[in-house]
Structure formats: structure tokens, C-alpha cells
Symmetry: C2
């Protein structure tokens, strides 16, 4: 078993692999208006942990599949994640000027172009999914299942539904259950999609897909609570953003409802629960997904 | 051969068929936040000619395929068309308060919800496409080809690219070629997609798909020029919107560049060219597509 620090280096190299492919995602030969292309690439290449695409690659490998064949779907989920951030930052939504220390898309390219770049990234994601079949010979049946699940987990019943609930709830979330509904859809749905999509690439059985789903929902909630905790006790330098922003914006969070200590305990429990689900499924090659769960629990940014 | 008036009734009944299916597109059993569902349905059910979905159905029939099996893809293209109108109407884009005599989406549900409803409709469109396989047994390979083409024709290289070019060109389009680039992508690309998608449903050959493409591009441009002509000589009552709006907004149009008479001539030529491409392909059942071309040329709204 590698140490956490070595695993951190592995994750960094995987993120680089994803970024190298993202740079090529809009070939110069494609006839796309210049500013639209720039606006799309600006947000695609604006950094981030590349966690979701890495999960696609690791889930494919956990099932004995090829990471290379999973790459088009990995790019797709990063495009969906990126579009959601571009639209989320718009003045009509969260009205953010900066993200990860860089100006947000609409601050650079204007609101209209930011809306169009988001639309184009979302549309392009589905194109990228189809390339797992075209480019790597993954059976059409499996790639169509990934298409169906991407539209399910990213749409009105998934991520966009979570965004809408978050927006509607801003006037006052009073119950932990309401907060969990929002996290479930805003954060966990795309994580669950990423894991299942990697599974589909490798031809996972229903039972294996169910184990990935269980792993993903527990991990997704742990990830979100860890985010809330880091907003309270984290290091601004490492996070690359100001801490205590939730408190300042009067955002309700897990620590708000159950306290810091119980939140930390919850992250540990959820991580253990996630790992147990995966171990019980006897996947061919689960080590890196299990390490990823620990890595995320211990992260400081 | 039926008369134009009887054909008009047929088109109206096809539009009703599409609308009856659109009402069911977001089943009540789906867990979607209430206002998001309302906002999506508001724009989906706000009328319109339903021309693109009808083209999907007619192209499938022209190739000897089943209209019923083509219906999920027909709904998909109407969802894409609808999302593009919702985002187009936003204050940051065209800033329109009314469309077809009804308040635009953001005037009723607010800007944030209109952005999310558009995103959700676009995402849902891809879900609907997959149902041609799930619900009607169209081979996964064909449905995946439709998915790939939808993301191509609706994305950065297609419709969204056209929107971006239109926006960037607002400061002054000086050449007819620039105007044609915008029409090609803003209008014709979705029409071409609709025809090809119907073809795919019916298992069209490459040669047949090429004929549908040629038909679509000629028809799409004719449709757009006819729109420009109706804006000058049309009846406000029939159009359901004020005429001479292009002139008032200083929008360059086909009549602006080549005059009204030459524009009318161009519509006739393009329609003839479209029909010839289709006739030469010897499709099993092309009559209704041919009638549709004449019908669109003669329309007064």
C-alpha cells in the first residue's frame, strides 16, 4: 500500500493527464467563433482538483477496464462540472467575480458569452461521451447507458434540480434534511455518475454498479461536509480562498446544524461506510478507489 | 396529391401530437423542484409551429420508418429549440419581455430560474433521445449516432456557434456571407439535424442522409429568408408579432442586402433546389417532406 503522500502525487499526475486531454478537447480545426472558443477554454483550463474525471478513470480501472477508453467520459463530466460553475457564477445566480483566484467567465467575456459558453460546454459533454464508442470501441449499448445517466444525474432530477432547490431555499433552510437534498443533487449526483460511468466503460454488472453508487453517495456527502469543515478550520493559503465565508454569507452547513466535532465524526463514518460498500463488492482492482476515499477525508484544501 | 389547405390541417394535427407528448415529457412522478418543473413546462408549452419535431417524424416516414419510434427524438429537438429561446430572451442576450404574445420565461420565473430551466431542458433532450432505444428498440448504434449529431449541430460548431457569431456581429455585419454563416448555424443546423435524426431512426444509408442534409440546408435558408420577408410584408394578426421589427432594430436581413423581389425569388429557388435533392435520392415515401417544402414557402406566419 502506497503512503498518502505518494498517492497525492499519483492524483496530481492523473489531474495533469486530464488537463492535457482537456486542452485538446476543442481542436483548432473546428469552425467555432473565436471568443466562444476562448471563453469555453478559459473556464475548462481554470484549474480545480479534476476530482470527477479522475473518479471516472479510477472506477474503470477498479473494474478491470481501460483508463484510456474512459478518458472521453472523464472529459465529459469535467465539461458538465465546468458549465455548472460558469452559470452558477452569473450575476443572476451567485454573482461571483472570482473563482479559484481568477476572474469568473462573465467578468472576462461578458454575461452573454458566459451563458453561451456554458451551453456549449454542456452540449459538448455529450459529444465527448459518444467518442468512447467512436474512438475506443466501447459497445454502443454501454455508451448509450452512460448518455442516459449523464442526462439523468446532471439534469432536472439531478444537479440542476439541486441548484434550483438551493436557490429556492436561500430564504431559509431550517432542516438538515433540506440541506442533505441539496448536497445529494448538487454534489453527490455527479460523483455517483462519474463512478458508474467508469463502471459502464468496463462493462460492470448491476451489482457492481450498485456498489459504486453506494460508495459515491457516501463519499459525496463526506466530501461536502469536509468542505464545510475546511471553511471553518482551513488554511486560506492552501484553500486558495477566504475561510469563514459560509458564516459571513449566513449559509447553513452541516457544522451549523450538528457542530464541528460531530461533523468531523460524520466524515469518518461516511468514508468508512463508502469503503465497506466497495470492499463487499469484491471488485477486481479496488485499491485506488479505497485510497481515494481516505485521501479525500484527509485533504486540507 | 392533397391540397395545401388539407396539408395545413395535417401539419396542425402533427403539432398537436407533438404537444400531447411534450406535456408528458416531465412526468409528475419525477422528483423535480416545483418551480423548476413549472418553468420548464411554461416554455415547452408556449406554442410555436413545432416545425423541427414534425420534420423528425416526416423524415422517419419518408425513409419507411415509424413515426412513433421517432417521437422521443422529435421531443428532444423541441426541448433544444425551447432552451435556446429561453436563454436568448435573457436580459444579457436579446432582453425580450414577450415571445409569441406571452411573457418570456425570466419575466415569469426570474433570471436564475430561466437559466436553470434552459440548462435542464438541454440536458433532458439527450435523455429523450436515448428513449428511442429504451422505449422503441431502435438499435443503440443508431441512437448513439443521433446523440453525436445532436451535440454537433446544437453546440459550438452548430447552433450555439451561430448565436455567438450573431451576438459578436451585432456591431455591424457588412457582408451577405456573414449573415449566411449566422443563418446556417442559428436556423439551418437544427433543421438538418431533425431530418437526419428521422433518417437515422429509419436506418437511412449515407446517401439518403446526404440527401436529407442537402434538403435541410436549402429549406433552412429559405425558411429564414421567408421570415425576413414576412417581417416586411406580413400581417401582424397572423404573425402574432409586430412587423417591421428588423428595420426598427436595424437588423441586417436578406431583403436588406438584395431587396424584396430578389429575396422572394431566392426562396422559390431554394425550395426547388431542396425538392430536387430529395427527389433524386429516390426515398421510399418522400411526398410529405416535399409538400412541407411548398407549405413553408407559401406560409403567411
Amino acid at each position: 500500500m502506497k503512503t498518502t503522500s505518494t498517492f497525492g502525487e499519483y492524483i496530481a499526475s492523473q489531474a495533469e493527464r486530464v488537463e492535457a486531454a482537456l486542452i485538446e478537447a476543442l481542436p483548432a480545426s473546428w469552425d467555432v467563433p473565436g471568443s466562444l472558443r476562448e471563453s469555453m477554454n478559459y473556464s475548462l483550463m481554470a484549474g480545480g482538483k479534476r476530482l470527477r474525471p479522475i473518479m471516472v478513470l479510477e472506477a474503470a480501472e477498479a473494474l478491470g477496464g481501460s483508463q484510456a477508453a474512459a478518458l472521453p467520459v472523464a472529459l465529459a463530466i469535467e465539461m458538465v462540472h465546468t458549465y455548472s460553475l460558469v452559470h452558477d457564477d452569473l450575476p443572476a445566480m451567485d454573482n461571483d467575480d472570482y473563482r479559484r483566484g481568477k476572474l469568473t467567465n462573465h467578468k472576462v467575456y461578458g454575461e452573454a458569452m458566459a451563458i453561451l459558453a456554458g451551453d456549449a460546454l454542456l452540449t459538448q459533454a455529450f459529444y465527448s461521451v459518444t467518442q468512447a464508442h467512436r474512438g475506443f470501441g466501447i459497445p454502443a449499448e454501454r455508451v448509450l447507458a452512460i448518455t442516459e445517466e449523464l442526462s439523468f444525474y446532471a439534469g432536472a432530477r439531478g444537479m440542476v434540480g439541486g441548484q434550483a432547490a438551493d436557490m429556492l431555499g436561500e430564504q431559509g433552510i431550517t432542516k438538515l434534511e433540506e440541506l442533505e437534498f441539496i448536497h445529494l443533487h448538487k454534489t453527490s449526483d455527479l460523483i455517483v455518475f462519474s463512478l458508474r460511468a467508469g463502471g459502464h466503460i468496463a462493462g460492470a454488472t448491476e451489482a457492481q454498479l450498485n456498489a459504486l453508487t453506494e460508495f459515491g453517495y457516501a463519499l459525496g456527502l463526506a466530501f461536502q461536509i469536509q468542505d464545510d469543515i475546511l471553511d471553518i478550520i482551513g488554511d486560506e493559503q492552501k484553500l486558495g480562498k477566504p475561510v469563514k465565508s459560509d458564516e459571513k454569507q449566513q449559509k447553513v452547513t452541516y457544522p451549523y446544524f450538528i457542530g464541528l466535532e460531530a461533523s468531523e465524526q460524520k466524515v469518518k463514518e461516511l468514508t468508512k461506510q463508502a469503503k465497506t460498500a466497495l470492499i463487499q463488492a469484491n471488485l477486481p482492482n479496488p485499491d485506488r478507489l479505497l485510497q481515494l476515499a481516505d485521501y479525500l477525508m484527509q485533504r486540507d484544501h
